[in-house]
Assembly symmetry: C2
Homo-oligomer: 440 residues x 2
């Protein structure tokens, strides 16, 4: 039993950049990552971009002693790339696949094939229930003209939803991963504001790592420096977030990152830097005590939250407009392909009808053009179906956001005291239920 | 405030069979459904197969007075078909799309395009928090040779996972929908055993409806009688399930179904019968009191649960084997297409190399064959990608089930008292944490 004794939990997070045959020194780097984890014996290692199951199995074998429990989250075509290694027994695992994740035809980006998701594992540490999440959001390839922004915002929205609704039973909540967002980006603000999760980097007094906590650094030999412009030194896109509960007060004692090189090795662990956080879990004495901040939003932060959700909704609307336009283009092109095909059939019918015609029929061109028409029809049909799923997903997210903003504004509008329902969207702890409208 | 006063909650569930232009008398039936809901004023109406948003909007308009709050869940290509109408304000909505849902090329079944999912809404009734779920699982087209069984089992697995993890904050949990499973089918047993949800039909003393509670009845004019063989009268596949919490004791006072015809109308509401349940929510006095059964599994039910999950795992393995075989077939056919294409190119090269050859080159056959090869290649590529996602999803579910069985068996094996962790997978209420292995 914990009995008020503090528990120390060490958490590791790394985007492993494990694309077999494409990522440089992939096998050697996994060897190094395995050695590091074996040596450091973190309680939890949250890994992203472990694209190949073979590499997961390699790590599983290597970490059999230090981390006897593990889970690999499978989804999409390639997989989610998410893996958890734990010193503590895993009691449950659950995966939520994001509804939007790029485009299948953007082969060089490849996010769509990855089946991006958030994985959850449930474990117990000295009698405390920890819900641990590992995730990897869609990459940002161009900050100035980021066509994936609506996708990432929807992913962040779904992430906060999933974490908020599945973590209410937890004494401790930990989220680690590559969010592909700068600290103050919209999605990050959404996640923090809604879930009440706190950022290890901003919460700790003891930080050892790159300046500003950056995890994608220019000094890393695998990093494309051009992609970092105008952030010359690098950016912070990997995070370990945490929160406690009424039962446990959680503090981040220290956070460290690797610094682009590994002593005695020719190259670093990955193109991202690894994070290591030391969390101190202090069970509170009385059950009724609440941790500072808890997971609910105070009335002070409500206006800010309304602004954030409204901003997100605008972004989703932009994405929706784009997806609808793309779907429209696909439909129009499909119709053109069909018209071309009918035209061709008509042309073919002319010599057949005018039996006496002497001119040779251009068979080769006819078949080529026919094949082209069919290809156009098939491609546009597939694209139409694909864009329809995108439109549905974006509309779904927008509907949810509208509902959320409505609830928040109701709360803000300040219904008469005693009549005002708690803003349930933002205060998951409903220990003082109050009546609402439309009651019997 | 509820203050111990019992609350009555009336819940309606119906599969609306709303395929525009295909379902018979679609518009008239929606008109009838709208009238029924307006008149009956259930607290909650959980609708499935509302495939067209226009029909949802029609109902929304019609029910503006009786059910001012509603949510339509969008997903997939066509949508999830799920809608909720409520007399109480909805505070939050969240959707979980099932990872498996049939095959896109089974156009005549069409489930794949529906984007099957489980939708959740959060509402408050007299200070009590209710988490309400609406869902529709994959149809069973042939019970003897049910190729979709692994898909439905995975959907049931994901459904119980989602409900279990997102409902811990709820005082009342309600699940309604067309589960497409007989009462004692594997998926149904999984859902009930894991979530602790109870079936209105078996729990109520006051039932008014078709014999055995059947909801797909032979007497319904829209039903294909042949599909019901050997269940001559019909089958029970629509359900309203519920459970309470430590704070609220829930009882099902009565359940009724429609009986295949509507007085004064030429045809019934749908090809399914509608369910109406009356739930009595009795807030318990002390907070610590637990409702009979609660949502945890007792040690008595553990062996049964192990058997159920093992059975589900076997079914998923069968599905996995099939998906892998299909993927293999797609790959082999693709390779054959490629070989054929190369062969054709080689044949084409022969007259080009042997410049003196006099025989005319069969252009038409050449192009046709080429187009065929391309079509084979493209189709098999798409199928390969599709089956890979199926394999990943099935593997993922199987991994989760293995983890679950492991946890259950640990609990069963009876570690020494005080050492034995609570079977967390099955006992979501962890108010008495005990230490586990691998602790610091």
């Amino acid at each position: 039993m914990s009995g008020g004794r503090p528990v120390r939990l060490r958490v590791f997070s790394l985007n492993c950049w494990g694309i077999r045959y494409l990522s440089q020194h992939c096998a050697q780097r996994y060897e190094m990552i395995g050695e590091l984890l074996c040596r450091e014996e973190h309680d939890l290692a949250l890994l992203q971009e472990v694209w190949s199951e073979k590499d997961y199995l390699f790590l599983k074998k290597k970490l059999a002693c230090s981390h006897p429990h593990s889970h690999y989250f499978k989804s999409g075509v390639i997989g989610s790339g998410l893996a958890v290694f734990s010193r503590h027994k895993l009691h449950d695992a659950f995966l939520y696949r994001f509804s939007l994740n790029g485009y299948p035809y953007m082969l060089h980006h490849g996010d769509w094939f990855g089946g991006k998701a958030v994985g959850m594992v449930v474990l117990k540490v000295l009698g405390l229930t920890a819900h641990v999440y590992v995730t990897h959001l869609h990459a940002e390839y161009c900050r100035e003209k980021d066509g994936y922004l609506p996708h990432r915002v929807v992913q962040a929205w779904e992430l906060q939803h999933f974490v908020r609704h599945t973590s209410s039973r937890a004494d401790v909540v930990i989220l680690g991963g590559d969010l592909n967002m700068h600290p103050q980006d919209l999605g990050n603000r959404l996640i923090r504001a809604y879930t009440g999760l706190r950022d290890c980097y901003t919460e700790t007094d003891k930080f050892d790592g790159c300046d500003d906590g950056i995890t994608l650094i220019a000094d890393n030999p695998f990093t494309n420096k051009k992609e970092l412009i105008p952030f010359e030194k690098g950016i912070r896109i990997d995070y370990i977030l945490f929160k406690g509960s009424k039962k446990v007060c959680v503090k981040c004692e220290s956070l460290s990152t690797t610094k682009g090189s590994v002593p005695g090795k020719a190259f670093p662990y990955s193109d991202h830097e690894a994070l290591s956080a030391e969390l101190l879990l202090q069970p509170t004495e009385g059950a009724g005590e609440s941790e500072g901040g808890s997971d609910s939003c105070s009335a002070d932060t409500l206006p800010e939250l309304v602004d954030t959700v409204t901003e997100a909704r605008t972004e989703v609307k932009v994405g929706l407009h784009l997806a609808e336009r793309m779907r429209h283009t696909a439909a129009r092109t499909g119709v053109m392909g069909l018209v071309l095909l009918l035209l061709e059939l008509a042309i073919a019918a002319v010599p057949w009808l005018a039996l006496g015609a002497e001119q040779p029929f251009p068979r080769a061109s006819f078949y080529l053009l026919g094949a082209l028409c069919f290809a156009i029809l098939l491609t546009t049909l597939l694209l139409y179906v694909f864009y329809t799923t995108q439109v549905k997903a974006l509309q779904g997210a927008e509907d949810q956001m509208r509902l959320a903003v409505g609830g928040l504004q109701d709360a803000l509008r300040g219904l008469p005291r005693g009549q005002q329902g708690e803003p349930m969207l933002t205060t998951p702890d409903l220990h003082h239920p109050t009546p609402l409208d439309h009651e019997e």
